[in-house]
């Protein structure tokens, strides 16, 4: 664990709403993207002299393109309902991390240049009377800092009487900044890799092939069954699109092993694709429709090229948002796929169907060494659905976990379902240059987890998002927990699933004795 020069919040029994402490996170900002990471995405390389004009032009353009942004800019009455809802505010005490204050960084400029009240009082020299402000160069730096202390988790939007969603404002702000020449290195560099190589991690085709062969051998060694992990297999029924972290990192890869086993037992043919070897879509994080669309189109391309009938997504939060809510818009229509199935499907929808059909031979006692809880990922919880009923995104993952585990406990009801707390690393913040805000923002979730560990003997927390898993792996040790306490849901499925013809090492011994 790296040494840090800031305080790690101490976990209390409850998360108390802190008193304001101005400026505690004013120093936090990610690295600015160099021109080489800006230009491939269609942005200007660096800030130019006409930054002010560009900012206001970009803002006008976004207001005209997004009804949400326009309505959200106008409608806030400063009721304060959202002020104690953001995990970053709770973890940092910085008033500018209250959702409404974060929104106001942009809203005050909007009010000054795009509303009668702001223009009128601006001319009188007292724009602040109506919450307006002249745009200055420092404002953009402040935007860059605080719009990268928002994980676009939408928790505030649940509690807003007008549904104002700070995520939409953060996305717009980041897009405006990028157009002015202040992009975020982490996200933009990664998007560049997707364009060049096909996935966030920059894993080329041959490396993927190696990895998948390795997985096949591992599974065969362990179970005696040859489960295939195919890549670019034409004519397969299902194209699986999964976050590239699933290809090698723990605990992600255990999830991928699980998907393969489920497909194997269900008797369907499936494949991964080199072209679309990434479910994540960081175009959403930077608020760029064009980039999000370009990244999404690779999936359409791969589906057409491989001639699949269905598309299934692996465990990933924001990827599921882009897939479930936006894919049809960005890369549809998918009339060339089998109309019997929703496009796309979540792997949990697939697995839950198979469990209900009874095709999977599950022995939940194989997970008896663990007591599980489940972390609702913010994008899945508040921006998507699974199954046919509203709220399926909460029940289906829990149903699957309970089918494969005997010991399951939920965390505090105020921290799950639609009120779930973000892991602290979502929305393009999963980078080392933002470690402090990630650790502090994780405090509310860590508190709830710590409580079920102490009160109910929970040993592990399951998640269905590559970012959540990576973030927790990293921050758990700062809060006195172990990094391997975070598991994939399909890792649990994989543990409990007895493959047809599976021979366990223990069973082998028994067989020998019997013989």
């Amino acid at each position: 664990m790296a040494k840090v020069d800031y305080e790690i919040p101490e976990l209390q029994e409850y998360v108390e709403v802190p008193e304001l402490e101005s400026g505690t996170m004013a120093h936090s900002a990610p690295y600015v993207a160099k021109p080489e990471f800006q230009e491939p995405l269609g942005y200007v390389g660096e800030v130019q002299d006409d930054w002010k004009e560009k900012t206001l032009d970009a803002m006008g353009d976004m207001l005209g393109k997004y009804r949400g942004l326009q309505v959200f800019m106008d409608s806030c009455v400063k009721c304060g309902s959202c002020t104690d809802k953001c995990h970053y505010y709770l973890g940092t005490k910085d008033p500018l991390n209250m959702p409404v204050a974060r929104q106001d960084l942009m809203r005050r400029v909007y009010r000054r240049y795009f509303t009668f009240a702001g223009k009128f009082f601006g001319k009188l020299g007292m724009p602040e009377f109506v919450g307006a402000k002249e745009l200055e160069r420092e404002d953009l730096d402040e935007w860059f800092s605080y719009y990268h202390q928002c994980s676009q988790c939408r928790r505030c939007s649940v509690f807003c009487p007008y549904g104002i969603d700070t995520a939409e404002i953060t996305m717009a702000a980041r897009e405006i900044l990028a157009r002015v020449g202040i992009g975020q290195k982490y996200s933009n560099e990664i998007i560049g890799k997707v364009y060049k190589i096909g996935n966030n991690l920059g894993l080329p085709g041959p490396a993927l092939e190696d990895t998948l062969e390795g997985l096949e051998e591992d599974v065969e060694d362990e179970t005696g069954v040859k489960v295939l992990y195919p890549l670019d297999k034409k004519g397969a029924d299902i194209l699986l699109v999964t976050p590239s972290a699933d290809f090698f990192a723990e605990p992600h890869v255990d999830g991928l092993i699980g998907y393969g086993k489920v497909f194997h037992e269900a008797g369907v043919s499936w494949t991964l694709s080199t072209t679309a070897s990434e479910a994540a879509n960081f175009g959403m994080f930077i608020g760029s429709y064009e980039n999000m669309r370009k990244i999404s189109l690779r999936i359409r391309e791969a589906a057409l090229e491989l001639g699949v009938k269905r598309i299934v997504f692996g465990e990933c939060g924001h990827a599921w948002r882009v897939a479930y809510s936006f894919l049809n818009t960005l890369a549809g229509p998918f009339d060339f796929l089998d109309p019997e199935y929703p496009v796309p499907q979540h792997i949990l929808e697939f697995t839950w169907n198979e469990i209900q059909k009874g095709t999977l031979n599950l022995d939940p006692s194989r997970n008896d060494d663990m007591t599980l809880t489940f972390h609702d990922s913010c994008n899945v919880a508040r921006a998507t659905r699974m199954g046919d009923e509203p709220g399926g995104q909460f029940t289906i993952p829990r149903n699957v976990i309970k089918s494969v585990c005997n010991n399951y406990v939920d965390m505090d009801p105020d921290t799950i379902y639609e009120k779930t707390f973000c892991c602290g690393g979502g929305g393009g913040l999963l980078t080392d240059d933002l470690m402090e805000i990630r650790i502090k923002g994780g405090m509310p979730r860590m508190t709830a987890l710590n409580n079920v560990i102490e009160e109910s003997g929970v040993t592990h927390m399951a998640a269905i998002c590559a970012i959540c898993k990576s973030q927790f792996t990293k921050i758990l040790p700062y809060y006195g927990m172990e990094m391997d306490q975070i598991v994939s849901v399909h890792q649990l499925v994989s543990n409990a699933l007895i493959l047809t013809g599976q021979v366990d090492e223990d069973d082998e011994d028994t067989d020998e004795e019997a013989a």
Binding site: E19, L20, L63, G64, K65, Y66, R67, G68, Q70, V71, D74, S75, V77, K78, C79, G80, S81, T83, D84, P95, M98, V100, A101, D104, A117, E128, F129, V130, G131, R154, S157, V158, F159, C160, P161, Y162, G163, D165, Y289, E290, R293, Y324, S325, F326, N328, T329, G332, P333, P342, P344, A381, R382, A383, T384, R385, D388, E389, P390, G391, E418
Partner: protein, 239 residues
């Protein structure tokens, strides 16, 4: 003086109606390129109507959030609604007297709610931090409107018949404008109301039409079933 007030009310009404209409048209025309309902969300249009109904009538989301703000906010709004309904008697006689009578107590709900919200704005450090002078000014304006109105009902009665006559002549001014009673409370009350009407379309009071256009509340959760695409996004597909 009554003529000046008549002109003021015509101007205020014009600003209110045209200002809000322009805003509403702008909201309606602005594209919503992506499906962004806050989920779990209704999967049918009927469900969305119900969701908006609960939001507008019961302040469902605010109720989930903070009970004090909800209590005061809801008291104020429901009080205001009842008071406005009661004011219809200055324009027509559709409302039966047995309702008009008891509805006068709604003014108290409105004022108590407003005072509660004002105290909260001062007392809670987070809410104070996010408040602009105009947020306080708006509350004071509404409180003064409420108090001046309630005083005419409960303390110093004004000549209701004259007020009613004045507003009737405003609706049909060609036979001359009626006189307002020479009562300071009426003049103050009406001046403040006219100011509120003028401020409405350029202020946060736009939350009233805004809530109906909020994509996180008014969209149906059916992106897989039905392709949703905006006109500007469609143009990208032609390239």
């Amino acid at each position: 003086m009554s003529v000046a007030y008549a002109i003021l009310f015509y101007i205020a009404l014009a600003i209110l109606v045209i200002g809000v209409a322009r805003r509403v048209i702008m909201y309606a025309k602005a594209p919503a390129p992506l499906k962004i309902p806050t989920t779990p969300a209704p999967t049918t249009q009927t469900g969305v109507v119900m969701r908006l109904f609960r939001e507008v009538v019961f302040f469902e989301s605010l109720f989930k959030s903070t009970k004090w703000t909800w209590i005061f906010g809801w008291m104020f709004h429901i009080g205001l609604f009842a008071v406005l309904a009661r004011h219809s008697r200055y324009f027509n006689s559709l409302m039966p007297a047995e309702i008009v009578g008891p509805l006068k107590y709604a003014a108290f709900a409105m004022i108590i709610g407003l005072v509660g919200l004002l105290i909260r704005r001062f007392a809670v450090d987070r809410v104070r931090y996010i408040s602009s002078p105009s947020d306080f000014a708006m509350l004071f304006l509404l409180i003064l409107i409420g108090v001046s109105g309630a005083m005419m009902t409960f303390v110093s009665h004004t000549d209701i018949t004259m007020v009613t006559h004045f507003f009737h002549t405003l609706m049909w001014p060609f036979d001359g404008i009626g006189q307002l009673p020479g009562d300071i409370l009426v003049w103050v009350h009406l001046l403040l109301v006219a100011s509120l009407m003028i401020i409405f379309p350029v202020s946060k009071l736009l939350h009233a039409p805004g809530v109906f256009f909020s994509p996180s509340r008014n969209q149906v959760d059916n992106p897989r079933e039905q392709r949703h695409i905006s006109d500007w996004a469609k143009k990208l597909e032609q390239n």
